[in-house]
């Protein structure tokens, strides 16, 4: 495959069947390898699309500064595109995010503003909104509320999956900004009304929830529950277990949120087997495992050890 520039090579990722992790010959699981994007994550799609739409609208002009709250991947994607297109970029991320992510952002020239670890990405969003108010000339693309985030998946990820897998019965992805699920979900529904759209929501460590108040909360503006068929909460132990299975049984080296999505995919697959139905389940490999190597989860001798080692390190 040939492209005119690195940015033109975003998307068109492989969809591969997982012969060993599929529950049966009639219930097949397919992995959409989004780690094959230029900066190594699914976020290249919304990042590039949000930038291009902002250029089209005239919001983003040469010399502009882009501002974004991000725990990593979106910032990395935006930073790479910003470098190639000549924008300055400022990322707000929780102070406890991994060293790998900080270096990746710095290497593309992004400036990092740390937000307090307490409150995690909720706090990063709040800090970014404050910065946007103080610096009216900065352009916040705001992945949690920008319709072009979901729009990128509606325009590209969804059509690619349907073209490769016309028999699709389930689509499973992680729930963060909700952009992937909203965009792919809407596209697939329009073309296959019976398709099931399944969200895999990471269940954080106690540490994260301990800081939350039950009367406040954060719901991404993009979220529309009517697009989803159901939503699973996946604990870090299950996510780590599946991340290791994906590596050991299928040779795919993926990040931990992918393990959470795979867990939900296998769960709906097992339900289909029990019901005697056939199924084609596509799930998203959101990124590779590189940024999570320092957690030690891939090389731990046993899964139990891997689960213990990531306690407190995940889902910042």
């Amino acid at each position: 495959m040939r492209y005119d520039s690195p940015l033109a090579a975003v998307g068109n990722t492989p969809l591969v069947r997982l012969p060993r992790l599929s529950p049966s010959d009639d219930v097949r699981i397919w992995a959409k390898l989004e780690d094959r994007n230029p900066t190594g994550s699914v976020k290249d799609r919304p990042a590039l699309h949000m930038i291009e739409q902002a250029e089209k609208d005239g919001r983003l002009t040469p010399g502009c500064t882009i501002l974004e709250p991000t725990s990593g991947n979106t910032g990395i994607s935006l930073a790479m595109a910003a470098r190639l297109k000549g924008y300055r970029i400022v990322c707000v991320m929780p102070e406890n995010t991994s060293e790998e992510r900080r270096q990746l952002l710095a290497m593309w020239g992004a400036e990092i503003i740390s937000s307090p670890a307490a409150g995690g990405s909720n706090t990063a969003v709040r800090v970014a909104k404050e910065l946007a108010a103080e610096n009216p000339s900065w352009v916040m693309l705001y992945q949690y509320g920008n319709p072009h985030n979901a729009g990128a998946h509606y325009a590209t990820t969804g059509p690619e999956i349907l073209a490769d897998l016309p028999s699709i019965t389930h689509f499973v992805a992680g729930l963060g900004t909700t952009g992937t699920l909203m965009g792919v979900g809407r596209y697939l529904r329009e073309h296959k009304p019976d398709v099931k759209i399944v969200a895999a929501e990471p269940r954080y460590d106690d540490l994260v929830y301990g800081l939350r108040n039950l009367d406040e909360g954060f719901v991404p503006e993009l979220y529309d529950a009517s697009v989803l068929t159901t939503r699973f909460s996946v604990g870090s132990a299950d996510a780590v277990t599946r991340t290791r299975e994906l590596l050991q049984q299928e040779g795919i080296f993926a990040g931990v949120s992918t393990g959470a999505a795979l867990h939900a995919a296998i769960g709906v697959g097992n339900k289909a087997v029990k019901a005697g139905e056939s199924a084609d389940i596509a799930f998203v490999v959101a990124d590779g495992g590189w940024k999570y190597l320092s957690t030690g989860l891939y090389t731990a001798a046993t899964t139990e050890e891997a689960i213990a080692t990531v306690q407190g390190q995940l889902w910042a």
Partner: protein, 92 residues
């Protein structure tokens, strides 16, 4: 009929610090009423006006009950219920 209920940090003041408690009931609504008999005050933190509070998520065997039958979701012996506050990644 025993159902395991996992309690978030923020509600453990009602359970003497216990991370998980047992309860019973044919539906979630009955389960929360049952918990209230031993953990006074907990029900009102989860339920408001017969509905789940907006920023409280409840999962039956890891599935969000808002996509099942909400507070009327039926329970069976051995089920596991998890209560969590909403975080970024959110809910409505």
């Amino acid at each position: 009929m025993a159902i395991e209920v996992r309690i978030p940090t923020i509600l453990r003041t009602y359970t003497d610090g216990e991370k998980a408690v047992e309860g019973s009931g044919a539906t979630l609504a009955e389960l929360f009423a049952d918990l209230e008999t031993r953990h006074t005050g907990i029900e009102a933190r989860i339920v408001d006006d017969g509905k789940l509070r907006r920023f409280v998520n409840v999962y039956l065997n890891d599935e969000d009950v808002r996509f099942l039958e909400g507070i009327e979701t039926k329970l069976s012996d051995g089920d596991s219920v998890t209560i969590l506050p909403a975080v970024a990644g959110g809910m409505v």
